[in-house]
């Protein structure tokens, strides 16, 4: 059993190009710190994120997956995040139903101006996942070691 203090979670963050990725950049520009455990994948829009990607991340050893997009109403493509919102709500509910810790998945709306919110969200999410410990319920044992 790994010591919780030593456990460094792997976090995948999907960020939409127009708001959240820019928000992440702004966090960088303002030198706002958040753990290096977070790795960002740029997608055009939150609606590009397929549930497959999220499961894939868990399979490959991610301990938490967070999806960031424009605030509802601000989508660069007008409606993308509304679809993402429904898809993720249902997916997360299903994961919870299967007994997979719901705290490992999250959606946050982060605008291009919210560098501080981005950093704060990441800090909080990493802390929450660290608290949970390693992902055991959706791991693929073949990908370990």
């Amino acid at each position: 059993m790994q010591d919780v203090n030593q456990f460094k979670p792997k976090i995948v963050a999907f960020c939409c190009n127009w708001c959240s990725y820019a928000g992440a950049d702004l966090a960088g520009t303002n030198r706002l710190q958040y753990p290096a455990d977070v790795k960002i994948i740029r997608v055009p829009c939150s609606c590009r994120v397929n549930p497959m990607f999220i499961l894939r991340a868990f399979q490959r050893g991610a301990d938490g997956v967070i999806l960031c997009g424009c605030h509802p109403g601000d989508c660069h493509y007008t409606t993308g995040n509304y679809y993402a919102r429904r898809r993720m709500t249902l997916l997360f509910s299903m994961l919870d139903y299967l007994g997979i810790e719901k705290q490992r998945t999250r959606v946050e709306w982060v605008s291009a101006a919210e560098g501080a919110k981005f950093a704060a969200t990441m800090n909080e999410f990493v802390a929450a996942v660290t608290q949970l410990g390693p992902n055991k319920r959706l791991e693929d044992l073949r990908c370990k070691n």
Partner: protein, 324 residues
Amino acid sequence: MQELMLAKAKELLQNGTVNRVLGWQAGEFVYDITPAVFESEQDLDAGFVYNEFCGNNLSKYLIKESRKEGKVLAFLKPCDTYSFNQLIKEHRIIRENVYVIGVPCEGKTDGETLKSKGVKGILGAKSEGDELIIDTLYGEQRLSKRDALTARCLTCKSKKHVVYDELLGEEGEEVPENHRFEEVEKLEAMTPDERFAFWRGELSRCIRCNACRNVCPACSCEKCVFDNPASGISQKAAADSFEENMFHIIRAFHVAGRCTDCGECSRVCPQNIPLHLLNRKFIKDIDAFYGEYQAGEDTESRAPLTNFTYDDVEPSIVYKGGKK
């Protein structure tokens, strides 16, 4: 009813309305019914059957059948009509090429269900009042029809035909008090650990025979992502517990908002995994989050996952225990 259907089928064949009939064919025992296309009256006389064992949902066959020459007569039970409508909506069935006759359904039974009630060596069965009299290798057994019902029929959502060209028998009603979410609620009430243990126990039996997928009227993809090496998630056998989860989660997600809850997935699962509980969870969530929606009820409405409202619930609702 079987006689009525036979007569109707022959009439429509004779007058050229249709050139073939999609129905159920009798098997070796009473319960091993096979969906079949009958091309002539002789064929019909030789094997056509309709009874409490005719559970197969015939809608999916119409994807293929409606693309053939001529018009096909399809006998559809109430729950089959929902699947049929959904397939019409998704442009999978060519409506003009199908003559739909709605047939009533009092709930179905099958060999597995009878065996689960302790009946062994089933040879034949006949219905007498509220009872099924089953002839077995080890003597005659009686079972009340209610007890013989398959699990999915016990929570039947509707005895109404949502689409037909003609109806045989009385039109039924929707069944609002169907209690079909009770099992889902039971699971929701468990702790995550219990739920995890439950689903691991169930899904670990999966042999990836694809029966659930191949029978599912909503799973009518030209090529399934799980069969497509280019998709990056193709798999043939679930080589790891993750892959068991993956297949069933993604499959349920792909049919979310499109699944009519016909229950075929659980019926055909050789390992008796209650797969319908995954689909029902989505149905229940959709009803709760976005308003009641019954896939297949109509051919126009937007499916919940291709729709939205500005004030939809946030995904964080999941952390709040699904309460709005």
